[in-house]
Amino acid sequence: MKCTKAKKHISRYLDGELGGDEKADFLKHLKDCQDCQHEYENLYRILNSIEVPEEISAPPYLFSSIRQKIHEREPQRVIMRRLKPVLVPALFSFVFLVSGLISSFIVQRLEPQYSKEESAALKLTLNLTVFDDAPATSFPDIYNSMISGETK
């Protein structure tokens, strides 16, 4: 066995992880090699002075704190699970409602707004006499806007 390998084996030997032929070879090398013996003794002395720290006991309330943490999260989830069938459709209809309002607002803004005089002038210039007699309120707004849109 070479010194490099033997030196690596020192750690395993000290931990009781070296066995069989490997152990026999290692011990044979150690007996004959002063350099490795020195290395082994140094490491042994250092590791031997490292005592296992005394065990300390955990605080007695540890489990109740953990239990508390488990339970303070659980109820929220239960509530969410129960509300889910209501909350999801409610959210969708709310989004639908808001988008409807926004789009109607936009359409309103796009639609040209004419004063009475202006629309009269417009009708005159475009020769739109057909709808004159009918009251403006009886026509759907969309129809009016179609006409004004087309004519714009």
């Binding site: 690596k8 992880e17 250092i46 490292i50 300390i56 489990f63 488990i70």
Partner: protein, 202 residues
């Protein structure tokens, strides 16, 4: 209920964790009782603060409770538990080191402070206790400054008495990797502790 608990105390870890997956609190309690002390001490030895060890032990068991479903029984329960504990510790240390670095402080400041305090000549502590405490502080400081994987391998091997194969399972690596981590850890410790040994401090 007492009978129920007695019965649970005799059940295997793997049976209990299956029950925990079904939110059985008695089973969880039984597992907690079985491992609380070990996990608390492991965390304390890695982190070095009682208060932080308390917090992190709670985190470990909360994780166990929440992740019980994911335990597939490929490894022993204790290996899985220790792996979670080690990961919680390492993540915490990493985070703490980042914070300390951003404050322009050394991560090992606390432990070196302890070491310096014990080395102060004006200390009035009785000689024997003083020497023992000084020795422990010096050793703790040396172990603390090991790189994370070397440190965890060393703690599991030297303090907790785990075999290389068990350590490999816990830190999710090969036995030969554990071996080389421990060779390096011991070399580093030798380098750090030799001067103290020569002066008879440890």
């Amino acid at each position: 209920m007492a009978d129920h608990n007695l019965h649970l105390d005799q059940e295997a870890d793997e049976t209990l964790i299956k029950k925990v997956a079904l939110k059985d609190e008695f089973a969880f309690r039984a597992l907690f009782n079985r491992y609380e002390h070990k996990i608390f001490n492991l965390v304390y030895r890695y982190i070095g603060s009682y208060h932080e060890a308390e917090e992190l032990t709670q985190d470990v068991f909360l994780k166990i409770y929440k992740a019980a479903k994911t335990f597939k029984g490929k490894a022993k329960f204790s290996t899985w538990l220790y792996r979670i504990a080690v990961n919680v510790c390492k993540k915490y240390k990493r985070k703490k080191r980042l914070i300390l670095r951003s404050l322009d402080e050394d991560a090992t400041l606390a432990s070196t402070k302890i070491a310096r305090e014990f080395c102060a000549p004006e200390s009035t502590m009785p000689d024997k206790i003083f020497k023992q405490k000084q020795k422990m502080a010096i050793i703790q400081n040396a172990v603390d400054t090991l790189p994370p994987n070397q440190k965890i391998a060393f703690i599991l091997s030297k303090y907790e008495g785990y075999s290389y194969a068990e350590i490999a399972g816990i830190i999710n690596t090969s036995i030969s990797a554990v071996e080389s981590l421990l060779v390096r850890a011991k070399q580093n410790l030798k380098k750090k502790l030799m001067p103290f040994k020569e002066r008879g401090k440890i």
